[in-house]
């Protein structure tokens, strides 16, 4: 038997339960996160109009750049203001 050392970050998370899917979007706030790729806004404009037709409220957000993770403050802002979020990648 050989013993080796784990080369990973050993941060494999516990399996997490998803938030229950809402029955309806009526009255819920949905965040739309634009990752700042070209034409992502055009795609999100269309998604927003569809969501509004379904009775949802929509908040729009934008990452400073698509090449880096969303800043912590932006993630907190979305989590505290929205019931659901759609992150959009268009290219």
């Amino acid at each position: 038997m050989t013993i080796v050392l784990d080369p990973t970050g050993e941060s494999a998370p516990q399996t997490r339960q998803r938030v229950a899917r809402p029955e309806s979007l009526q009255g819920l706030t949905v965040g739309l996160l634009d990752i700042s790729k070209p034409r992502g806004d055009i795609f999100l404009d269309r998604v927003e109009s569809k969501l509004l037709e379904m009775g949802a409220k929509v908040n729009r957000y934008r990452k400073p750049t698509f090449t880096k993770p969303a800043p912590v403050d932006l993630r907190h802002e979305i989590a505290s203001q929205c019931d659901a979020v759609i992150e959009a990648l268009a290219d």
Binding site: D6, P7, G9, E10, T65
Partner: protein
């Protein structure tokens, strides 16, 4: 433990000592719990550490008995518990803990002990020294005046791996993973997803402890927060991955500096990993460490064959993969990738260059060892076997550099030019230095906007129409990095194209290699 010979593991060598029993290993092995990680105290007073398998120790046996009688001596025997004789003044260092922790490298070693630690020591047999050290005269009148000692069992190359794991293994915090006897080690590591696809060296405790001898930093020091999972990476985790990549311990400081540089905000390793472009962290080494660890800056510098060149960049990539969790198909979204993403690392040929080095051009001294990380794809060649003047060669290199990433795009992507010695000789002959070269080539890389805008040349890709009518520099200021390396024959240079620069991409980062 199976250890391949090529790794230089001394465990495959023959034992040097011939005595059959009792060996320190012949009895029950001390359990890990019973093996102290800190030094056990030595007996007080005068102490001599010996082993029967040492002719000098055997020679001094009558002197040891004499000293026990006249001066009150304790003998610590490493192998035979009844050497030099069965006596209450003889202690058996059965697990070699005393010898290991008190740094006995020669037997006999005579110690003065106070408070459990040695305050003075002499080694070998030397009558005059022994008499002065003990204050006892007329020692060993029949013995020769002087005999050198033998190697201590605790530094026997066949035992040091096992002893280091036993006595120092507890400093390692990584999760232990058992590979069963019937498993193939390499298959097992590959199945766990810990490899870049090429074989990795199993990171056993002994190998990781040996690797850690390459740095003065503590194994639990945090080197960096590694993307994309943003995991704290210790010196130990870097060492584990350096073992897997095939590094020698003396490469470790270079790997550590490369990990630090890669995980800065300027270098943006997250974006570099996540991009669909075929780029990875290219590591350029400057300064004295290049020669100290035997890097190759000459023939085939960007290719295979030199262990340091081949494994340092790979170790960085394994840290990103294993510690950071950055894997192709996960956060790594490269459309094609490139061979450079296995790890591309090379040193600059500073000695053969008439110019200041890349690191010096970035503000470091020639005496400092550094890594510069550049976000690059695989190199490609520029052939120019006809230019005899610096002007002609520069015009040709500029033309080739226009196609860096795309001939229709400019400013957004950096580039690294690797000048060969024969191309550099054109600039040596012309008396051009680095800044003259960069000034000249920058002027040649001013491109009419009309040629770059969308639609120009019948190509829809390009710069916005507003750029028409204006000369556009191919590179931002400082966006062309130049290094001198390669074999002595070949009128070629190499271009390593970068990716998006600046705040939304990557800026090259230079870090000093310290410990």
């Amino acid at each position: 433990m199976r250890c391949p010979k090529w790794l230089g593991n001394p465990g495959t060598q023959q034992r040097r000592f011939t005595q059959q029993t009792p060996l320190w290993k012949s009895g029950p092995m001390p359990s890990d719990a019973a093996s102290p990680a800190t030094a056990p105290p030595l007996p007080e007073g005068l102490v001599v550490v010996v082993k029967r398998d040492c002719p000098t120790c055997v020679l001094t046996a009558p002197v040891l008995a004499d000293l026990a009688d006249r001066a009150g001596l304790t003998v610590i025997s490493q192998d035979d518990p009844e050497f030099p004789e069965p006596a209450n003044w003889v202690i058996h260092d059965s697990d070699l803990a005393l010898s290991w922790h008190h740094d006995i490298d020669t037997v006999p070693t005579m110690l003065k002990v106070s408070g459990g630690v040695a305050t003075d020591r002499i080694v070998g047999w030397n009558r005059r020294e022994w008499e002065e050290f003990t204050g006892v005269d007329n020692l060993g009148g029949d013995l020769p005046d002087w005999r050198p000692g033998c190697g201590s069992l605790s530094v026997d190359p066949t035992l040091t791996d096992e002893l280091s794991v036993r006595f120092s293994g507890s400093i390692l915090k990584s999760r232990r993973v058992e590979i069963a006897a019937l498993e193939d080690e390499w298959e097992s590591l590959a199945d766990r997803g810990w490899s870049d696809g090429m074989p990795v060296v199993p990171p056993t405790e002994a190998r990781v402890l040996r690797m850690l001898e390459g740095t003065t930093r503590s194994p639990d020091d945090i080197v960096a927060i590694v993307p994309p999972d943003l995991v704290e990476c210790t010196v130990e985790k870097v060492a584990v991955n350096a073992v897997m990549a095939g590094c020698r311990p003396d490469y470790l400081p270079v790997v550590i500096a490369a990990v630090e540089a890669a995980c800065t905000d300027e270098f943006n390793m997250h974006g570099l990993l996540a991009t669909t472009m075929p780029v990875g962290p290219v590591v350029i080494v400057n300064g004295p460490i290049r020669q100290q660890i035997g890097m190759n800056s000459g023939i085939n510098v960007l290719g295979q064959g030199n262990r340091a060149n081949s494994t340092i960049g790979r170790a960085l990539q394994l840290v990103i993969r294993n510690v950071g969790g950055g894997r192709p198909g996960g956060v790594d979204r490269a459309t094609h990738g490139s061979p450079a993403k296995y790890g591309l690392c090379f040193p600059e040929d500073e000695e053969g260059s008439p110019w200041d080095s890349l690191a010096q051009s970035r503000g470091f001294d020639a005496g400092q060892s550094t890594v510069t990380l550049f976000p690059g794809e695989s190199p490609r060649i520029v052939v120019d076997q006809q230019s005899r003047s610096a002007e002609s060669l520069t015009r040709h290199l500029a033309l080739a550099l226009r196609s860096n990433i795309s001939p229709k795009l400019a400013m957004v992507f950096d580039s690294m030019l690797v000048l060969s010695p024969e191309h550099m000789s054109r600039y040596r002959d012309a008396g051009w230095d680095r800044s003259r070269f960069l000034d000249e080539i920058s002027q040649l890389l001013m491109i009419p906007g009309d040629e770059l805008v969308r639609g120009a040349g019948g190509i829809e890709e390009g710069l916005p129409a507003a750029m028409a009518g204006t000369p556009i520099p191919k590179f931002r200021p400082g966006g062309l990095l130049v290094v001198h390396a390669g074999g002595g024959a070949g009128l070629f240079s190499s271009i390593i194209a970068g990716w998006v620069n600046g705040a939304t991409g990557t800026d090259p980062v230079t870090r000093e290699i310290t410990a």
